[in-house]
Symmetry: D2
Amino acid sequence: MPSSDQLETPELLLRKTQSSHWYVEWMDAFSAHFHAVKKAIAAKTTPFQQVEIYETPKFGRLLVLDGDPQSSAFDEDIYHEALVHPALVTHPNPKNVLILGGGEGATLREVLRHSKVEKAVMVDIDGEVVDLCRKELPSYSKGAFEDRRTQLVIDDANKFLKDTSIRFDVVISDLTLPYPDTPSEGLVTEAFFGLIKNKMTPDAVFAMQASRTERGMNALFIHNIGVLKKIWKIVRPYHAFIPSFYSDWGYILASDKCDPIKLVPETVDQRLSAFSSSLHYYDGLLHPAMFTLPKELRC
Amino acid sequence: MPSSDQLETPELLLRKTQSSHWYVEWMDAFSAHFHAVKKAIAAKTTPFQQVEIYETPKFGRLLVLDGDPQSSAFDEDIYHEALVHPALVTHPNPKNVLILGGGEGATLREVLRHSKVEKAVMVDIDGEVVDLCRKELPSYSKGAFEDRRTQLVIDDANKFLKDTSIRFDVVISDLTLPYPDTPSEGLVTEAFFGLIKNKMTPDAVFAMQASRTERGMNALFIHNIGVLKKIWKIVRPYHAFIPSFYSDWGYILASDKCDPIKLVPETVDQRLSAFSSSLHYYDGLLHPAMFTLPKELRC
Amino acid sequence: MPSSDQLETPELLLRKTQSSHWYVEWMDAFSAHFHAVKKAIAAKTTPFQQVEIYETPKFGRLLVLDGDPQSSAFDEDIYHEALVHPALVTHPNPKNVLILGGGEGATLREVLRHSKVEKAVMVDIDGEVVDLCRKELPSYSKGAFEDRRTQLVIDDANKFLKDTSIRFDVVISDLTLPYPDTPSEGLVTEAFFGLIKNKMTPDAVFAMQASRTERGMNALFIHNIGVLKKIWKIVRPYHAFIPSFYSDWGYILASDKCDPIKLVPETVDQRLSAFSSSLHYYDGLLHPAMFTLPKELRC
Amino acid sequence: MPSSDQLETPELLLRKTQSSHWYVEWMDAFSAHFHAVKKAIAAKTTPFQQVEIYETPKFGRLLVLDGDPQSSAFDEDIYHEALVHPALVTHPNPKNVLILGGGEGATLREVLRHSKVEKAVMVDIDGEVVDLCRKELPSYSKGAFEDRRTQLVIDDANKFLKDTSIRFDVVISDLTLPYPDTPSEGLVTEAFFGLIKNKMTPDAVFAMQASRTERGMNALFIHNIGVLKKIWKIVRPYHAFIPSFYSDWGYILASDKCDPIKLVPETVDQRLSAFSSSLHYYDGLLHPAMFTLPKELRC
């Protein structure tokens, strides 16, 4: 048995408790969020991007693409409820739904909650990300890929949109941010949104995740609002705070006919009624608050 | 003139561009926000706490007490508008206002915008913090300390409340978080809130900053709601996203008579009308949205 | 093709170049080394410890046990040459060699360079670490595990030492640091070193890695010197700077007969002659310098 | 008195113990040393560079110029003993000594220990750094600026060298690293070293701090050795580990006559005898070891 003498050296007493493994989200050169990592679950370079999945003590599994956090097990419900349901309750009869991106399968999961949905086509460029998420983040898709209404297409969004003969009632864009040299570069332009609109029914609803809304970080959000206004008559930015992003995240809903700010809470709740009890974040009461931006952000 | 030969060594080519000076807000052992620092403006230990002011490239001057960020020049307007105006528009005739804490002077500045205010008493335990903020953060108080309606008291909040003979129409608590071994330890209890209520008029309004609202970080916020409900009949939690806190910050308004959620936007805007154009964040339209929490947070 | 408009938002221009994945070696609560990680190669929890292998841009593959760096592909040659060769040249005829720990297989590789070695027994408690290193760090062992002189024993060092009937000419301890709750806890005591000596020939040489030598971090090094002096007559601390440890690492050689500081450079070089050209760090000229510690460290 | 209820919220239990203030030495984009800061003592921008002094828990006061650590109270004795004494014992009769840079005054302090020194001229470009060090780091200069043998010149080294009529026996360069856009840019060229030699006596000794010696980080060190070899016949690189730099730091001694590796320990100790007891790091025994570089570094 060891004698106690070796326990008295400072190095041993200083046995460190801090995490030795970190994922860092750099906002810019001057600010960063540090996330301790319990374990690196996956790390690979696909033909399109770098994919990492980290197990974190605070946010559970965290999906990272090209260094940017996409969603965490801890709060992906907030992110995906906010992305999907406002569009699907704003359209009175969403039968055909298109999802762009959304490799985790959680956007699909939320879309399939709506019983009016007859067909949900999900188009993601990166089949390896989809496969990895199905394997390592099964709670995200929760069987959505096996739903008979689901059609999974591994393809470039531009190409799919050009080729498809379907006309969609709702299109939901869950693409990554359009950084240079990433698969989403160029996917926030008039040309691209016009292509989407071409494949939508006349009263269809479009919704997209649109980056941060907060002061000093919202140029892309404002840019997106401006571009959408060139394409659709009704453009309604909205927001939801995502804890693991440390950000009040922006979304935009656009349509030529349907206006989300005309929906009263009771209508929202009624359209959600079949599954409203399983939602954590969104409901009729929150709906108008989500579409109310602070004074300085209104445009 | 130097010849070019010495420029070719890797070390010189790698001349680093990253910041070498950082302020880190640790949320817990597993997560932290890193803020680059341009310059440490002040660093001192007062009898009550450790005070630092950093000049940051992203958020301007940042006041830090005992390691916790208090407010930044970049967005203190959001934080202070959200703290002050809901209470002052909810009370129909706020003549006497008490501010607890708020050493920066910005809470006072916002209170003094309301022309009905006849007396604003600010009680802060730490005169050195107040002096430092007046000197190094003059844009925060903007002359508020010189306003003839202002009475600045450097004292313990408990002691002031026991001794004062004034009865206040509005009390605003801008105290630091009640960590052990800080001046605010124990200032979120029934006893303390009861003491405040004793010095308020019957239809008075109380508002406080109440820590984070976000999932996983909101136990103190929920605790505070519960304690206030033991003291006041109407307790209304509300929130505002503060970019430099990376958090959807919580506030609570409490009263026995006045209910903020009964105010329509037009009333809010009318009560703000004398200075509404100078506000950046808050207005009548935002008022109901601020008082609407996500489904999972309602209680 | 994307129009250029979306490229002008600050977020896209600020596309971050900093690494988002870091391994951090905490020295204590006040100092840490940050290592960017290209990819997490392996991460597992064995019955004995937590094992990670990181691919780093600066030091190549880095083996980490319980948060502590063990060796990097970039400079493990320095660490292992310094650990092994002084002992093996100090003993005139090292036939039977015992290695304690050294899961990477690089200590074994260096021992096997000496043609006088007839048997090299390596005892490591953690077979999973050994397997992982053979698979993911093959350049470390370079076939050493397949050498006919090698005997690999997966066992507790204490137990092996009690049971073995072999008497060793050289014993090399490459155990991890004796932190509480790690496999090496208690392995720097008189009892343990006495157990080792019992299984050594009378003129045998013992060498160990012995933690940091630098001022303020060397209490364990000094402790080890003191304990060894209770067991052996000749105790010679020495050192080698290891870049990836950012430390002037300590080693200790002990014997009752053989004294390394009596070896002249020529003898060292002659004993290394069969393979001296393949060494990068150690040679006869460096030998006396390694055994010369700064004035303040001599004892 | 506060009831205990508020102490149970996780946020309060998680009251963080980690430092919130850090100085970071970036080695390159992939590696960095983090130093906790107790207090920022000074931060200013002079006409020549950015100066910071941090009080750290681990290394005491740390002087930082343009983001690079210069020396710490914890181990500046090692750095300065290694820089000064090899040169001053190598020259048999050092009467006139020139110091380039060395704003802290510690190089001067070490030079003045030698009783043969009659005149010590220190030339530093940045008077504000010198003043700040005298005020905030008084233990570094320990009265050296007041010594009657000292002549302090605030000037550009190039200009001083061109103008001076003195011929020096020893010149010690303690300039910062020659990064672009810093005061030392261009000060490691043949032209500059030639200018120095012009103002030295025929058997004079030159010594300089010469950046890191470690593998992968030593291109500047090797560059410097090469340049000095064009100017002097005898060029001897040497090294000393500096804990707060986490580096085996390089120095170079050059002369046409005096060779440090010909000095036996006894001569070194004799030349140091007047003050050897006050040295912590350097002595005759260490002298030859300092001048012995690992095999891979010899050239």
